[in-house]
């Protein structure tokens, strides 16, 4: 069977997600205060600070992968805690609630074993400002039903669209799996391709690298299907 032309049982509609940044007016100057505020801010706030860098730096990422880690290491000078926060494996979390708990627990555990760290504070102007993301989800005009069409659209859609299907849909909308893998597995019945995309750690790629990596995997799949 030539799977290149295999049509999906259900087509895939590319969506895009545009975001507006909402300020909360809340700020922390110490680790204790940061942990306290983290317990009460909306989930959109946790989401914003663990994903902002992905959208701001689409080519080279100069910062640790979350704002908490950056502030703790660069403003408070707590490099060890900064590293622990930066290395939280966000891809393992399927809910914001669990991610929030992990961040708070990491800070509180560190404070318990490093009591002097609770004395450190950021100077006026260098506080951590809590911000949240408001997402607007919009269907695009692109709808595809096979791998070739999918790859062609993937080359031209915005980074926002890729971002939505890979990050936002999985974690923020609680779908557990990214939309692309989900469609490959359930509509195209291509479990190996679904798995290979699910195994990419999207948090260690820039958006453009991610686009290229997914396109490469699909192209490889198209070629191997063509040989079958």
């Amino acid at each position: 069977m030539n799977m290149v032309l295999a049509k999906a049982e259900e087509s895939f509609r590319f969506m895009t997600r545009l975001h507006l940044t909402e300020l909360t007016g809340l700020k922390a100057s110490t680790l204790k205060k940061m942990a306290a505020i983290l317990k009460k801010v909306p989930g959109s706030c946790i989401y914003h600070h663990t994903h902002r860098f992905l959208q701001q730096h689409q080519h080279i990422s100069p910062e640790p992968p979350n704002d908490f880690a950056y502030w703790v290491a660069n403003i408070l000078g707590e490099e060890e805690l900064g590293e622990r926060l930066a290395s939280i494996d966000v891809v393992q979390f399927t809910t914001i609630r669990h991610l929030r708990e992990k961040i708070i627990q990491t800070i509180e555990n560190y404070l318990a074993t490093h009591p002097l760290s609770s004395k450190r504070f950021a100077e006026a102007g260098d506080e951590f400002h809590f911000i949240k993301s408001v997402s607007f989800i919009i269907p695009t005009k692109y709808e595809v039903s096979d791998l070739v069409e999918f790859k062609d659209v993937l080359k031209k859609i915005t980074a926002d669209s890729i971002y939505f299907h890979i990050f936002e849909s999985r974690l923020r909308l609680g779908k557990k799996e990214n939309d692309f893998s989900n469609w490959f597995e359930h509509a195209l019945r291509d479990k190996p391709l679904a798995g290979s995309i699910a195994r990419l750690d999207p948090y260690t790629h820039t958006m453009e690298e991610l686009r290229e990596a997914i396109i490469r995997l699909i192209e490889k799949r198209i070629i191997s299907n063509g040989k079958n």
């Binding site: 909402e22 300020l23 730096h57 100069p62 993301s133 408001v134 919009i138 923020r172």
Partner: protein, 403 residues
Amino acid sequence: MAKIDDYISITGQSTVDELRLLAEKLQGKVVQTINSTAVGGGVAEILNQMVPLLKELGVDTHWDLIKGGMEFFDVTKKIHNALHGRAENITQRDFDIFMETSQRNIEEVKIYGDIVFIHDPQPIGLIKKKSGNKWIWRCHVDVSSPDKKVWQFLHDFISQYDAAVFSAPSFSPVLPIRQFLISPSIDPLSDKNKELPVETIKEVQDKYGIVQDKPIITQISRFDRLKDPIGVIEAYRLVKKYIDCQLVLAGGTASDDPEGIEVFEEVKEQAKDDPDIHILMMPHNNIEVNALQRISTVILQKSLKEGFGLTVAEALWKSKPVVAANVGGIPLQVKHKYSGLLCHSVEGAAFAIKQLLNNPGYARKLGESGREHIKNNYLLTRHLRDYMLLFLSLYHGEDIVYL
């Protein structure tokens, strides 16, 4: 004036498609934007670019101005400085002048927008005309450490709006209304930022007697004490001890800034007769500003306070290495040692300039990273998108909105 499709060559087709999608969602809404000046300063510049493009996208957008005399603008300048944290003697009489002019504008300015978009403190009093429509206050000023009396005076107006918009997270106060973070932007196709023919650049260089065989340090900004032009000259003198270079200080004044000429004279006095310091008053000559940025070896923005500091984005867009003060919205544009160098003092600025002049490879790398960062985050198309999302957010209170 550029058309929306002209941006496709820079941002890609999909970005422009998204703008059209958003504009469709705003069909039937009238947006009325109001500020105090049509020319000079960053706000007027942004509105001159944004309003025609919003209209072209199909968003029914109108731009109105309030009126005010010299006395009113003297007071609003004081308010502006006090919001930036500068000590100002603001008297009850000043507040009275502000209220009297506000009252006249309340009587004269016709409000017809479904969404009324007010910029900065000057027209803030118009909120008294709110009646069932949506009102946004857009603050372009660095209010991270404002004078308390002035802030309280404005707070009473701000809290009546539906939403406020600030340019940097550090400006965000606790308010009883929703507040959004929207950074301003540059227009890559405007006279100030478009590519220029070599001959044009050469003409400008010759016109101002700037020589090519010495590095050129440039600060482009209004003649305003908050831009620290005197500090710029001091930094240049520290560099000049080791590297024979030139300094270009160029800018204009805004019609709502009565201090401009006074500061210009002070700066000329400070420069004395150093032939390598070029102090250029060039109001609204965007092609020349563009050319000056392009001939520069290093661009400096040594502000003491900054609403956002768009001259930094302009320089980075031209892949120029930048040394800039760590104030206002500048650290959003310059990630230290990645897309430029941040400084906190005259000495720090001088040291950073020397580093860049002595390491051209490093300087080039910073400039290139800076251009990418601006392309992704600070171009007009992103700004248009944010404003349309802002308008839509007035009708949606939730964090995830399906359009």
